[in-house]
C-alpha cells in the first residue's frame, strides 16, 4: 500500500510505502510520484519508516521517481530506512546517489 501525504507544504509530497515494496507495488509507487509531480509537488520524500522489505523492482521505481523529480526541477529523497532497505541500498552502491536521511523532517531540510 502506498500513501500520499501532502501536509508538509504546497510543493512537497511525502510518499509512504507500507509493508513490502516489491514487484507487487512498484508500479503504484511510480504512479503516486508521477501524480505528485504533475500536481507541482516537486520536493518528494519517500518515507520508508513502515517499509520492511524492498526488492530490485521497488528500488527501480524509486530511481524512476528520482529521475522524474529532477526532470521536473525538483528532487527526491529517502528517509527513515529500515535495516533490510538500507542493506539493499548498500548492496547496490546506491547509498551515494540516494543519501539516506534519518527522518522526513531531515530529508526536507537536507540534513
Amino acid at each position: 500500500m502506498i500513501e500520499l501525504d501532502t501536509e508538509h507544504g504546497p510543493d512537497v509530497a511525502v510518499v509512504r510505502p507500507r509493508g513490502r515494496l516489491t514487484m507487487v507495488h512498484a508500479a503504484d509507487l511510480r504512479a503516486v510520484v508521477a501524480e505528485a509531480l504533475a500536481d507541482g509537488r516537486t520536493r518528494v520524500v519517500i518515507d520508508l519508516a513502515h517499509c520492511e522489505f524492498m526488492d530490485s523492482s521497488g528500488l527501480g521505481a524509486i530511481i524512476g521517481g528520482l529521475k522524474a523529480a529532477r526532470q521536473a526541477g525538483g528532487d527526491l529523497r529517502i528517509a527513515a530506512l529500515q535495516p533490510q532497505v538500507m542493506t539493499v541500498l548498500q548492496l547496490t552502491n546506491l547509498d551515494r546517489v540516494l543519501r539516506p536521511h534519518g527522518s522526513v523532517a531531515e530529508a526536507l531540510r537536507g540534513d
Binding site: 513490502r20 516489491t22 514487484m23 507487487v24 522489505f53 526488492d55 530490485s56 523492482s57 528500488l59 527501480g60 521505481a61 530511481i63 524512476g64 528520482l66 529521475k67 535495516p83 533490510q84 542493506t87 539493499v88 548492496l91 547496490t92 552502491n93 546506491l94 551515494r96 546517489v97
Partner: protein, 138 residues
C-alpha cells in the same frame, strides 16, 4: 530439533505470489528461530529476487505455476525453485550492477551479493534454480 525440515509451496507465477514467498519464509523462520536475523534477511533478498525473475519471465499465453522448497540445514539455507517456463538466457558473468540511474537490471547482481551459490539449469522440461546461503557460525 529437526535440521532438515522442508517447507514448500506451489503458486502461480504472478506478482501477487511474492507475498506467498514471504509467507513461506516466515513459516520457515518460525520453525527455525536459531537462524540469525542477518542470514534470514540476506537469504530472503536472494529468494525474492529469483521468484521475481521467474514471474517476470513467465509472461506468456498460458499461466504457469512455480514450485519453491526451502530447506534449513545446520550450515546453510537452501531454496530450490522449479517452473515449466521457457529456457532462460542466464549469464552470471554479465550480472554486474548497472549504472546508478538504471531502473532495472539489478536483480541477479543483488542475488549474487547475498548468496554463496546460485545455479540455474533447464532440464529440457523445467527451469531449476538453486539458491544457497551458508549460515554464519553461531
Amino acid at each position: 530439533m529437526a535440521t532438515d525440515a522442508r517447507h514448500a509451496t506451489t503458486v502461480p507465477a504472478v506478482p501477487a505470489s511474492l507475498d506467498r514467498v514471504h509467507a513461506l519464509l516466515e513459516e520457515v523462520w518460525s520453525a527455525h528461530e536459531d537462524v540469525p536475523a542477518d542470514d534470514r534477511m540476506r537469504f530472503e533478498i536472494g529468494v525474492v529476487e529469483i521468484a521475481g525473475n521467474i514471474v517476470e519471465h513467465a509472461a506468456g499465453p498460458a499461466p504457469l505455476d512455480f514450485h519453491l522448497a526451502v530447506e534449513v540445514h545446520p550450515d546453510r539455507l537452501e531454496a530450490r525453485f522449479r517452473d515449466p517456463g521457457r529456457r532462460l538466457e542466464v549469464d552470471f558473468d554479465e550480472a554486474a550492477m548497472p549504472d546508478s540511474m538504471a531502473e532495472s537490471g539489478r536483480g541477479l547482481a543483488m542475488v549474487l551479493a547475498v548468496v554463496d551459490e546460485l545455479t540455474y539449469r533447464h532440464d529440457g522440461v523445467e527451469n531449476h534454480w538453486l539458491v544457497v546461503r551458508r549460515r554464519a557460525a553461531v
